[in-house]
């Protein structure tokens, strides 16, 4: 009995003491912001990533595990632009944590700090699962990650003032390294400029804008709508007029439609990691773009 009581006391203490060890609990909705928070926060942050690269970020449920993690979070780092509209509002509402409510310093939306593309001029669900704020897949352009890094480091500093200088220094180091890396990627990807491609989902708008790729068509008839045979046939007809080298998709998407088109059009089907953890090589933000460029170069051959 006494032993039992001791164990309970120890457990209770562990529960109370655990959050105090790491300075900031960061809840990242998608892997890229988890990776960025780790780059900027180092061991001063305890990062939890709510989804993995093999999950479609549009279709996540407000699982009990997410509510439990949001309960103890000091900062939510989300993409915003309605990417997480289906589950994040429910999680923040049920977590009983006033720090991470929208509008509070503990709620950070990356999309606020980049120029959004594909803002629909006409908002209607007949256009598919369109996002009023623009295409939310901003992380496919590394310059956007650079743009988010500054505000995110500032936010970490705001929430954890004693370590403000630490976050600033980490950000400075990251920004320098990132700028060099971007220059290298741009050099490597120079042959891709102007290359015509097909995409499965309209998830690569920012990548295309960065590298100068030309999107000839999307396999999804409307964003978020599963490819149909009729639409794929129409895409094949388009390819007669505008040949492409490859069709690209995100790691979380089924390869069926891509491979169907690739086989018939004799082009390469390329699965890009899309975010950190999307494949073996995309272990961190640097690996993500190293691998993305390498796969695009292979696909363009």
């Amino acid at each position: 009995m006494k032993h039992c009581l001791n164990t309970i006391t120890a457990l209770a203490l562990a529960v109370v003491a655990a959050p105090a060890l790491a300075a900031l609990n960061v809840f990242a909705t998608v892997p890229e912001w988890g990776a960025l928070a780790t780059e900027l926060g180092g061991d001063k942050v305890n990062v939890y990533t709510a989804t993995n690269a093999l999950q479609d970020p549009h279709h996540v449920e407000a699982k009990p595990s997410l509510i439990a993690r949001a309960r103890s979070a000091d900062l939510i780092v989300a993409t915003g632009a309605e990417l997480e509209i289906g589950w994040l509002p429910l999680v923040t509402q049920q977590a009983g944590n006033p720090k991470i409510q929208p509008g509070k310093p503990g709620y950070f939306e990356a999309a606020r700090y980049v120029s959004m593309l594909e803002k629909p001029a006409r908002l209607d669900r007949s256009e598919g699962d369109v996002h009023p704020g623009g295409n939310p897949h901003i992380q496919t352009d590394p310059r956007n990650i650079g743009r988010v890094a500054g505000p995110l480091a500032a936010r970490l500093a705001e929430l954890d003032p004693p370590n403000a200088a630490f976050y600033q220094a980490r950000h400075k180091a990251f920004a320098d390294r990132w700028t060099t890396a971007i220059a290298n990627w741009e050099k490597q990807a120079a042959p891709l400029r102007g290359a015509p491609i097909l995409v499965q989902h309209k998830a690569f708008t920012y990548l295309e804008a960065w590298l100068g790729l030309t999107e000839v068509a999307a396999l999804e008839p409307k964003p978020g709508v599963e490819p149909t045979t009729a639409h794929l046939t129409a895409v094949l007809a388009t390819l007669q007029r505008q040949p492409v080298k490859m069709v690209i998709r995100a790691a979380y998407q089924s390869g069926r439609a891509s491979e169907w088109v690739a086989e018939r059009a004799k082009i390469n089907a390329v699965a890009l990691p899309f975010t950190v953890g999307g494949d073996e090589a995309a272990k961190d933000l640097y690996g993500l773009f190293d691998d993305t460029i390498a796969r695009l170069l292979t696909g363009a051959q």
Binding site: S65, Q101, G134, R147, A154, Q168, Y206
Partner: protein, 483 residues
């Protein structure tokens, strides 16, 4: 305009640089560094503002031409990519304004309109038994639980408004529009969002969080109708006007404790015309993930009410329709479990869901028997019942948009003790049960079509073969993906 701004920004920066230089002569080396840093920050600020203006200009141009459905223009490339990437973090989050706000532009008096969504439903029902005589044998009639009328009908439509009230509250209002043209306030509640330490208070009218299915709206169910135990013990779904307080434990495994107090006027309770609390509920929910592919939630709930003169009709041993009234205590316990599987947690292509709930109900108090409803022969005596029920269902998505499901429901009449009224009322043992199969097609998140067939044996010697073809359409604000 952009050029003008850029010029004035450059001028401002130059001006500051000059003044900084003048000060530097007098200042120490440390001051110099600090001033440089400030200039850098100001420069960055101006750049951000210019960018914002540029992007606004671009938006305006796009709107003016309005030729394409979507704007596919290339990104407004930042003036110098390196500067943006290496810009030092701003001192406060507010100073880094968005180059382009991600929120959709809304203006005028509609800017603060709540999010509105509507759900439309319709059904074609083919029933081998008359739905107007629908009753679960051996169980107290629980109100409006009959299946849809035969043939075509619209099912319940729903209209929902939700918004933040201020920095401390959010609120939801949900109307239910019945096919008979009546309107009901399905839910109307406020949430205190600023509560600290894991507390989430809710107040108003709301679906109780007991069990798993109870607080889910009918249009998100995996089957057209509620499981038999929900029909028999809760009249479909239990809601009350009152208060709810939940507390989420600060643990990695989800652990939630909750309690509710309310008026207890909906079945199995009655309106009591009394001050104080009419119903009370407590529950605990636990949940988590196992690996990346499995998630689960389990719960235990307890609901207690005090119905007063709960009236219903039942055939007595003589075959007359007798009027019965129950006053006493009604207690219900529920154990629920749900498990969801999706490969790597990605439910798009295939996924599986298994859910089940077990109900125990105990009622004791006084039962008044009135032979012909005219109060000529009445008899009041002790009443006690112990009844049980459960259901289990599984739903499998075998390819994108397509799911199949099967469900089995069963109730146990258990023991019903009419006391002295036992001479008028039969106590038999008959266990109602039902088998259901469904197939649904979900072209997008906002529409679903379903075919459901079921065989219902809820009255002795009668089998009801039921076929439902149902549609669910959702308009407006994006719905929540509840677990």
């Amino acid at each position: 305009m952009t050029r003008n701004l850029a010029a004035s920004a450059a001028f401002a920066v130059a001006l500051l640089a000059t003044s900084a230089a003048q000060q530097a002569q007098a200042a120490a080396e440390a001051d110099l560094a600090q001033i440089r840093e400030e200039i850098r920050q100001m420069k960055e600020n101006y750049e951000a503002r210019i960018q914002a203006l540029e992007s606004r200009l671009k938006d305006a141009e796009t709107r003016a031409t309005n030729s394409a459905v979507t704007q596919t223009a290339p990104a407004p490339v930042a003036p110098t990519m390196a500067t943006v990437a290496t810009a030092p973090p701003a001192t406060a989050s507010e100073t880094v304004t968005a180059p382009s706000a991600s929120a959709p532009a809304a203006g005028g008096i509609s800017a603060f309109n709540p999010a509105i969504s509507a759900v439309l439903q319709g059904v074609y029902a083919n029933l081998s038994q008359d739905p107007t005589k629908y009753a679960i044998h051996g169980f107290v009639p629980s109100g409006d639980i009959a299946p849809a009328k035969r043939g075509f009908s619209i099912a319940e439509s729903e209209l929902a408004l939700s918004a933040s009230v201020d920095d401390k509250f959010a609120a939801n209002l949900i109307f239910s529009l019945a096919p008979d043209n009546s309107v009901e306030v399905e839910e109307a509640y406020g949430i205190f969002t600023a509560a600290p330490n894991g507390f989430a208070p809710k107040f108003g009218r709301f679906l109780s969080a007991i069990g798993y299915l109870n607080d889910q709206h009918q249009h998100v169910w995996d089957f057209f109708d509620a499981p038999l135990p929900y029909q028999a013990f809760l009249g479909g779904q239990f809601k009350s006007d009152g208060l709810q307080l939940k507390w989420v434990a600060p643990t990695e495994t989800f652990l939630e404790f909750g309690g509710e107090i309310g008026d207890g006027s909906s079945f199995p309770g009655t309106d009591r015309n009394k001050n104080g609390i009419g119903s009370g509920a407590v529950y605990v929910h636990a949940g988590g993930d196992i690996g990346t592919s499995n998630s689960w939630r389990a719960g235990l709930s307890y609901l207690q009410l005090r119905p007063n003169e709960r009236l219903y009709a039942q055939d007595d041993l003589a075959g007359n329709s007798a009027q019965l009234a129950f006053s006493g205590k009604s207690r219900l316990a529920i154990a629920d479990f749900v498990w969801k599987w999706a490969p790597n947690g990605n439910a798009i292509s295939t996924n599986f869901k298994l859910q089940g709930e077990y109900f125990w109900r105990k009622e004791n108090g006084d039962l008044t028997y009135d032979a012909d409803g005219a109060l000529r022969l009445t008899s009041t005596s002790d009443y006690a019942s112990r009844q049980r029920g459960w259901y289990v269902d599984g739903v499998y998505q075998f390819m994108p948009s397509w799911r199949v499901g099967a469900r089995y429901d069963r109730l146990a009449t258990g023991s019903v003790n009419y006391g002295a009224n036992g001479i008028y009322l039969a106590q038999d043992s008959f266990d109602p049960q039902r088998y259901s199969l469904m197939l649904d097609y979900t072209p997008s998140e906002f529409s679903r079509f379903r075919v459901q067939w079921q065989q219902s044996k809820i009255r002795p010697d009668l089998t009801d073969n039921q076929l439902f073809v149902q549609y669910i359409l959702t308009l407006g604000a994006h719905g929540a993906h509840k677990f």
